[in-house]
């Protein structure tokens, strides 16, 4: 693809991400928020495709749209009264909120500025799926196993909490 097209697509996707993320936190109707969250996740997947990380993009859609948002919608539907318009989306803690978010923004920005990003000019050889799989089972096998252990622990914990006895 030409560079100009890529830049245009990048800005469109970024606009979609920021806009839908803003809608998620500002809309009164919490179900609509969930739908905008779907749009936000989908646009992020678009950014991944732009970076030729198709595998990550597919997994992003599969997990964030297919599992996490559906779970959220389930929670919304099962919670009584959550849908009524009298529910408020914000509370009185405006000033502490601004302070915390402002600090977070400054810290993130300074980290982003100080990091010297390594830009590799050579692409990944072959498919990104293959290289991700290889590095997960060789270089990063320990973190990978630790993550799966944590996930299993969370799964068992959820079952124990949900049991009736």
């Amino acid at each position: 693809m030409e560079n100009g097209t890529q830049t245009a697509v990048f800005y469109i996707l970024s606009g979609l991400i920021v806009g839908s993320a803003f809608m998620v936190v500002s809309l009164k109707n919490i179900f609509h928020s969930a739908l905008f969250l779907v749009l936000c996740f989908f646009s992020v997947a678009g950014i991944y495709i732009l970076l030729s990380a198709e595998f990550v993009a597919a997994v992003q859609v599969l997990i964030y749209v297919g599992a996490i948002t559906v779970l959220l919608i389930f929670a919304i539907m099962l919670t009584a009264q959550l849908y009524s318009p009298s529910i408020r989306q914000s509370n009185e803690q405006v000033i502490p909120g601004i302070i915390i978010v402002g600090t977070l923004l400054i810290v993130t920005l300074s980290v982003l500025r100080r990091t010297s990003w390594r830009i590799s000019t050579q692409g990944i050889e072959g498919q990104s799926t293959v290289s991700i799989g290889k590095s997960l089972l060789t270089t990063y096998v320990l973190p990978f196993e630790v993550v799966s252990l944590v996930l299993i622990a969370a799964l068992i914990g959820a079952i124990i909490i949900a049991r009736r006895e």
Binding site: E2, T5, N29, F31, H32, L35, V38, E54, F55, A58, V59, V61, L62, V65, G66, A67, T69, V70, I73, F74, M77, Q127, T129
Partner: protein, 342 residues
């Protein structure tokens, strides 16, 4: 041999010549090509859905010793076209208490997710819109949007039957997606690729078909896929006796038609995926590749319709128990064995 991929290639080359002669950048040709391909896919979907609805009614009829539609056209072949025109002409109502925006976009989400999955279906040798190297993963990812659409439809109709139907279908689709994905993983382990065309290419001869090397995987896929598209014996989301019609109670006219359309498009989609993954795709002797693909796919569609009149509907708890306590362990065992012996 009547292969279609050369035809498309020649049309593209002809367009390229024309565009360079006129001095228009090739970017516009690509864009035009995408548009034309999208229209072709849409036309194909419409035709196959029209045919499948008629076929379903004929198969159902003959299995119950009656004829099915007979009056419009030869053996009623015009029936679905008449029905489609009727649905389009009907008044498109929206309930007064419904969530207007959600009510409108729900059928669109369901329809678009079915449409986008067709991009990765290898209809024949070289006949694939885009052979993505994450092919099957892309299809799995994009079809999850159906759940969002169904939940939106159920919730935004503001009707208790719709909500229950939406709930049931979402729970069912999420549960059966796990064994479905695991059964596909067996094929991916054997073929060492996610791309649909490469999977087809790895089963050139009939003894290489993955149905013989992954028989359990094929059965798990078939059962889970029938549950994914909410068909009998897993049609609990739209069990008429319990829920009126499930998530689409409030829908009428063109919006209902879109749900209906997506349902049958998904029926063909799961059969096409099963053909590609387990039955050798478009590989076959003598006949052109795309004809082989359609023979196999429509045979699987017939099998799914056959199931409808063979098995009674499951209860909700039986349905969930079957997915989690039987299919899932079986799929895991299948995956482990495949991994050990591959």
């Amino acid at each position: 041999m009547l292969e279609l991929d050369q035809l498309f290639k020649n049309i593209y080359l002809w367009g390229e010549n024309l565009f360079t002669q006129w001095g228009i950048p090739l970017f516009w040709l690509e864009l035009l090509g995408m548009l034309i391909v999208a229209v072709i896919i849409l036309a194909f979907m419409s035709l196959s859905v029209l045919f499948l609805v008629w076929w379903e009614r004929k198969v159902s009829g003959h299995m119950q010793s009656r004829f099915g539609p007979m009056r419009t056209g030869w053996h009623g072949w015009l029936q679905t076209i008449i029905d489609a025109i009727k649905l389009i002409l009907k008044e498109d109502t929206t309930p007064g208490t419904a969530d207007k925006i959600g009510f409108l976009i729900a059928p669109i989400i369901v329809f678009v997710s079915a449409f986008m999955a067709y991009i990765c279906i290898p209809f024949g040798k070289g006949l694939i819109v885009k052979d993505l190297n994450i092919g099957i993963l892309y299809i799995l990812a994009i079809t999850t949007f159906t759940v969002i659409g169904l939940l939106t439809a159920g919730w935004c109709s503001n009707n208790k039957f719709s909500v229950l139907g939406g709930f049931r279908s979402a729970a069912q689709i999420i549960s059966y997606e796990v064994p479905l994905t695991l059964s596909i993983l067996g094929v991916v382990i054997l073929s060492q690729t996610l791309s649909m065309q490469s999977i087809v290419n790895s089963q050139k001869h009939i003894w290489e078909w993955y149905i013989f090397r992954q028989p359990i995987g094929f059965l798990i896929y078939l059962v889970a896929a029938i549950a994914e598209i909410n068909r009998v014996p897993f049609d609990i989301p739209e069990a008429e006796q319990e829920l009126v019609a499930g998530f689409n109670v409030e829908y009428s006219g063109i919006k209902f038609a879109m749900f209906f359309f997506a349902e049958f498009a998904n029926l063909f989609l799961v059969s096409a995926i099963a053909t590609t993954l387990f039955l050798g795709g478009w590989n076959g002797p003598l006949l052109p590749s795309w004809i082989w693909f359609f023979i196999k796919s429509f045979f699987l569609v017939f099998v799914i319709m056959w199931f409808k009149w063979t098995f009674p509907r499951l209860r909700v708890d039986q349905l969930m128990g079957f997915a989690w306590k039987f299919l899932l362990p079986l799929a895991f065992i299948n995956l482990i064995l495949t991994g050990l012996f591959a």
